[in-house]
């Protein structure tokens, strides 16, 4: 990069945190690193989900195949092909979204609305046109803005940069901690989504994936992506590297589990409930759903735990004792899900 361009960029981009995306480098995988044909709606990397309706099977995994400067990517591997998509069928990699309160500075729905630029690295043997899209709910409907990009060279990491129009018409229609901007990376799209011409700006047109390749058409196909950055302005700046711990903490606002055991111990009276208070690792986006897994117990049955209340900061689990005396205990792990 020339000095002049670098200085120009520094003068034209906001200081401080630039990337609106959490886990754009695909480093955080709290739910696992490999998923065999995950169901539609499954989170396959923190903040990233697969959504689909088609007759193919695709395995997803965190890969160490990554461009210079990155440690990981997200990999899709077609294991059963679908060469003939029905009209409405599709396959999407879906970023679960920013919170509305984290994108209020975009001034959407006003004359001061700001453009956004998304950059990312992709690699695939399946070359051709793909689609990347921003979307959000405006209080009445979901509005989208799609852009085409091309994978030019087979099996070669390529950086893509797409600038999206400012939305001066629609404002975010959900609560402050509700879903704001989301991203769709289209991998395949039936004819319903491929009308011509492609919708050129924000709207509700179905022409969202015009000319998109059918990535699902061969079991030889693989797709890799990493380094996703969404930032204010018309310039794609260098990827904003955050420490792993920082990125993990951001992800834990939406999902995390306890690695250490949560333990209640003490004097128990048979037939009475005993409560254990657990704090979450961070304040969560919303009151989370909880799974509780009993690991061991003394003076308690091996049946499941209960919880009676939770907040964004913690919960308590309880269990009725089956024996009276000191030294009784139960211990468990939990997962908390407040994903968008």
């Amino acid at each position: 990069m020339s000095n002049a361009r670098e200085i120009a960029q520094l003068g034209s981009v906001p200081s401080g945190r630039r990337n609106l995306i959490i886990n754009g480098a695909m480093n955080v995988t709290q739910r696992g690193t490999s998923f065999t044909a995950p169901a539609s709606g499954s989170v396959i990397c923190d903040r990233w989900t697969v959504e689909y309706d088609n007759d193919a099977s695709v395995d997803w995994s965190q890969s160490t195949d990554a461009p210079d400067g990155f440690s990981h990517s997200l990999k899709a591997d077609v294991t059963t092909a679908d060469t003939n998509l029905a009209t409405a069928q599709y396959s999407i990699l879906y970023y679960k979204g920013t919170e509305v309160q984290d994108v209020s500075h975009l001034l959407y729905g006003t004359s001061g609305a700001k453009k956004l630029t998304m950059s990312f690295w992709v690699k695939s043997n399946k070359t051709g046109t793909y689609s990347a899209e921003l979307a959000f709910y405006n209080g009445t409907a979901q509005v989208e803005h799609s852009k085409a990009y091309t994978i030019n060279t087979s099996n070669t990491w390529e950086k893509k940069e797409l600038t999206f129009d400012a939305n001066t018409t629609d404002s975010f229609g959900r609560a402050a901690n509700g879903q704001g901007l989301i991203i769709y990376f289209w991998l395949a799209a039936g004819s319903q989504w491929q009308g011509s011409p492609r919708s050129s700006t924000w709207g509700t047109s179905n022409n969202r994936a015009t000319d998109n390749v059918n990535f699902l058409d061969s079991t030889s196909n693989e797709f890799y992506i990493t380094g996703v950055q969404l930032e204010v302005g018309s310039v794609a700046t260098e990827f904003e590297n955050r420490s792993y711990g920082e990125e993990l903490a951001l992800c834990q606002r939406y999902y995390h589990g306890s690695e250490a055991y949560e333990i209640w111990s003490g004097y128990a009276v048979s037939g009475t409930n005993n409560f254990h208070n657990a704090d979450f690792k961070t304040t969560m986006r919303a009151i989370p759903s909880l799974t509780l897994t009993l690991i061991g117990q003394s003076g308690f049955s091996a049946t499941a735990l209960n919880t009676s209340s939770a907040t964004k900061d913690g919960f308590h689990a309880y269990k009725a004792a089956t024996a009276t005396g000191g030294g009784k205990y139960f211990y468990f792990t939990y997962t908390a899900d407040a994903e968008l």
Binding site: I287, N306, A310
Partner: protein, 59 residues
Amino acid sequence: MNEIDIISAQYVSFEGTNSCVKAVINGAEWFVPIDPANRHYAEIMRQVEAGTLVIAEAD
């Protein structure tokens, strides 16, 4: 384009008040708060309103 498979749902009562919903979601048992900002609860209520899911009373 957001799929959550809910097999069953039942209120959990604590001291006479429904405190949360115990639901089997995508094959796992979850305690779901009664909070519309929670995506599982929002989906449960969407399915209840669509007539495709009934939340059983607490035991």
